[in-house]
Symmetry: D2
Subunit: 366 residues, 4 copies
């Protein structure tokens, strides 16, 4: 119950199930005067949309967004922006066979235990389909942030054993894997093909970077920028790990090695990932996530039914062999929501009486 809103000042509330009539989001707190039409939102939805390549789920959804409110004569009015996406290709019959069983590794079991009942069609609200609403809301934040010079970009950094470099940002939009290392795309294709054949799935790592972020965003102690990013990222379906900057590599680093030294020209490195003490430093913000392999696979597994009796399960619906791929636009959207919220919070502080002027230029080493 509850928990479906995100943010303090730029508040996004999502609703909708995978196989219900519609998905949607309400954005409360968007500043007035932002030019906004459906055409600003649709491209991000299209990037996340299923059915666009043979490497993701074959469900066909147009994911057409309709703006229901909050925009007048092409400008946001400062009132809530209602966004609606109708579901069109629900094949609920796919789920009849598993309605009384729990897929291992899936939220089936915990939803049943929490709520006492569940919408078993496509996972209901636990489906990654819910993230379409987040992506739609994130597109609004991204448009606002772009006007402030803040750019948020993600890419697939690893799939299974295949590690992928950040060689070419432009390439990310030219393959269905959000891969910035175009020479590796055939390897990715081969792996997905093999997984489909095996009826199995695999995990992935996604990196997201925000550049142009001003220093000063983030609120110590609990609402730190890194804490809010971790909250946002761990809240994406299938994410099991989050890193900022050097991440888990810090465990073996010395202090003299980890710290980013500073010169009048800017920071000399960025192991911190752009955040110190929970507050943005002006350097690029660097985030990395680990996504588990989807649990909806064709290989049979042991499980129980609604009555706790032992049984086996096979999932034959349309699923992504690697949910990490389509997580790229979702992670971008969530990072945008966090930054948008903290930008507004920092603006509130600027009601203050202290004068804040930049001390050094932004990062030199990103």
């Amino acid at each position: 119950m509850s928990g479906n809103s995100f943010g303090r000042l730029f508040i996004v509330t999502t609703f909708g199930e995978s196989h219900g009539p519609a998905l949607g989001a309400v954005i409360d707190g968007c500043p007035p005067g932002l030019p906004l039409t459906e055409a600003d939102i649709q491209p991000d939805l299209d990037r996340r949309r299923p059915g666009t390549s043979r490497f993701t789920t074959q469900r066909q959804e147009a994911d057409q967004v309709e703006i229901l409110s909050g925009v007048f004569e092409g400008l946001t009015t400062g009132t809530p922006i209602g966004l609606l996406i109708r579901n069109t290709d629900q094949r609920s019959r796919d789920y009849a066979a598993i309605k009384d069983k729990f897929r291992p590794g899936h939220a089936d079991y915990t939803y049943q235990q929490k709520f006492g009942l569940r919408d078993y069609r496509g996972g209901g609200r636990s489906s990654a389909r819910e993230t379409a609403a987040r992506v739609a809301a994130g597109a609004v934040a991204r448009k606002f942030l772009a006007g402030r010079g803040i750019l948020i970009r993600g890419y697939l950094a690893q799939m299974g054993d295949i590690t992928l470099s950040l060689n070419d940002w432009a390439a990310v939009h030219e393959n269905p894997f959000f891969c910035a290392d175009p020479a590796r795309v055939p390897q990715l294709e081969a792996l997905i093909t093999q997984l489909r054949r095996d009826g199995d799935s695999v995990g992935a790592r996604v990196n997201v970077i925000a550049s142009g972020v001003p220093p000063g965003l983030g609120e110590p102690v609990f609402d730190r920028l890194d804490a809010d990013i971790a909250h946002a990222m761990m809240g994406i379906n299938a994410v099991k790990g989050v890193e900022i900057g050097a991440g888990f590599d810090v465990v073996t680093q010395k202090g003299s090695e980890h710290r980013d030294e500073i010169s009048s020209a800017g920071f000399l490195s960025n192991r911190a990932g752009g955040i110190l003490g929970g507050i943005s430093s002006g350097q690029d913000i660097r985030v990395s996530l680990a996504l588990k392999p989807t649990s909806s696979i064709r290989l049979p597994g042991r499980t129980v039914d609604l009555h706790g009796a032992d049984t086996d399960i096979v999932t034959t619906g349309r699923h992504d062999p690697c949910v990490g791929i389509r997580a790229v636009p979702i992670a971008e959207a969530m990072l945008a929501l966090v930054l948008m919220d903290h930008l507004l919070r920092q603006q509130a502080q600027n009601a203050g009486v202290a004068s804040v002027t930049p001390i050094i230029p932004g990062a030199v080493d990103d």
Copy 2:
């Protein structure tokens, strides 16, 4: 500004600077009727307290907690519990030399950029000393949870290159490193001694486990249990990475390998770390954090002063060579706060009309 409260129903607000008059916390939302005295809180504070061994900072603080409100005749009343810890051993003169400079890797720079001024004495509120207030509040949550059979325990899992097993929970309290692998303690001592000699510091990994957690805690979509844990953990000073269950290992796992199969006797493994779809499954909750090496080290580093001019800096105050050590009770406290909050939230749902009964026993494989 703001951001110093944690939780939705069990709300903890902390205040206080490292070198100000006092630290404290207000707990709003503790159920009435819980037996509570200072003696329930002091042991956790003593575990986090500085100056207890030569392997952590030499600052001497009694960290005596006083309950100011919310308890009557030995029982909580349901009203806010005010907790006060006076500072006693502030040696602010240590900081005169660095008041106009920014320690690389420290929050000095970002606080200055955010607020336009800062309490430079010991890092002010960015000091890990603030976490004493969290530990005090966490002790109240832990007492309540213990009454429900929920046990939260942490240990040091790695320091630099030294990896540490979970061999013996009892040993954790018998060495100053929260180490459950007692044979390795001499290695840890040697490493700290070397770091002190070098004027350097090192990172660490801490693991925290909650057992006895009922299924059903956590709120999809944004306030998922794992998302709230990530928020809590990334909000601890120096943390740069958070994992739930298999964490970043999922990147290379297959779906058939990662999923925890289920039998009528319980789950057959726990790679999920006790959370599926953001909701507790009844298995142990397993969390792992990476803590960076402290940035306050004696080795000189390049930085700038308040005016942006290039300079060098050396930090000679009393600091932990490995902040990860004392992070163990802090991580336990934060996990307790998350679970306490979600326990109350789930109780609110039980106002509902759906009947929720357990389907399988808890974990069998933990």
Copy 3:
């Protein structure tokens, strides 16, 4: 910006403008297992709906609600309930004449000052039409509360100089004025007819009563039940005053006269209006509101235009001569939302260790 959500655990977010594509609400926090269909909501919308009699606005709106999510096989699932109401009878041309002027007594001016732009069609989001979304959400809360024996009813207590008694609850649904004093209905009709002729409007008083409320709802200090009711009621368009129980009559009362004495059979009077110290006592909760006359009237008034130049204004659109009439179902809905939220909050406390048993039966004197 923001501020369009209501509640802490049963959270209602509304969106939509008077002349935009649609209105709607998202309910986050409805317990699972509640039987719910559109037919549970539509009757309350029909009671608030415009165009049903010649005594309110002549705008014709079907106000058909669609449930977009959160219900599966006829039961709520514990996930957000999306509610959609399409606008159908927007006659925006009515507003062309006043788009650059501010109606005195209307939100035109303050919206313009706050946001720098505004949707001038029918007041945009400041229109009472927005309350349709609140009524829809309130209907869900009312259904849940009814299952707990909590009944919420309102009536028109005064229109202009015509004071109206609570003689007959059943009569409320049998006249277009929500009047429980049927003999006075012709007087009300005559007054409205006269106001239409004059192009003027008039204020009203509405009373709302909740019975069957258990003792113990409400959270001292700030989130008191009466404080939250005041917040809810003053947030209804046109409300300028709120009273609980004896209300402003307390100013001249003595303590010996005001206090409700108690016997083993229950309270002996109910001047408190069912709330003591911000917490429900188990007696009926009694609330009274004052609604100002609508500012959209045909009589010309002095005002300024967008550039601050003096001008006159006449409003010729379709408006209620007494907005207080249709406020009855809105006030009922808002009271339902407050009680629903506090019921869930109190349920969360019952995770506590204190045993709470009723001391006396409910009210005897209501």
Copy 4:
């Protein structure tokens, strides 16, 4: 449980019981750089303080405030401001006689029903003594607002049948009644003397006015400025009614009579009380409250004991015969907290892209 915090961006959390060790407040969200010492807060506490005249309770409390955090070198730092007020004159023995009985009209009964136990000494947290913490926090807000030209002032407008004019703001500080109608002070003295003799109490009306408030504060729909004021005021102990502007007089007003016409020189009247559509108009904000007579009186009354058995009660502790008197500084503090919060929220919006310029000068008719 919970509910002891106020505000969204300028968040005040209070703690403490009437007869516990201390009261206090934590302010989270005060902008950095505000000059602040205890001397800024103490005068407001002294105005609310008991024992200063023979017309209020004879309890003697120094109410000395200590700033525990959030201020460095005389300036706020943007971190939480901890405020502590030790209790010194608790005479808990006064309460032994009534510990097992419920005072009619008092929160005794509802606290017991809510929490299952209660601190019966002086009402515990339901005591008006808790408001000292609010006044302390309000003083910080008032100082900030004063720097923006916003002035908040209250006065006693009625006590029992004695109505009091606003003749002279300066007089308010020169009598113990906060009376702006100095000729009436002897009447007030006589009434209090008579009430003390009779062992009875009486109600009161308090008016509070904020001037210098910029247009644009307040968030439609739910977090309207008037709704938040109503919430704040109804949350003050003993308040049973709240009015904005013309208040309940609107019930009999015509639209042509109520609306405040506008000219290029400003508004021509202020029946709205400075708020239209939930947003400040730039005119004076006018609020009026009704406070019930205190229920702690010497005249015996019927009640029940903890076991529900019939009994009588007499309250002999030290109490105010008219709690409305000392409510004046409390109401000022609460209005300051509301305005401070909305000022910061509006500042957040100014991150927006719409240009907002004032259209007319402020009020001309206040």
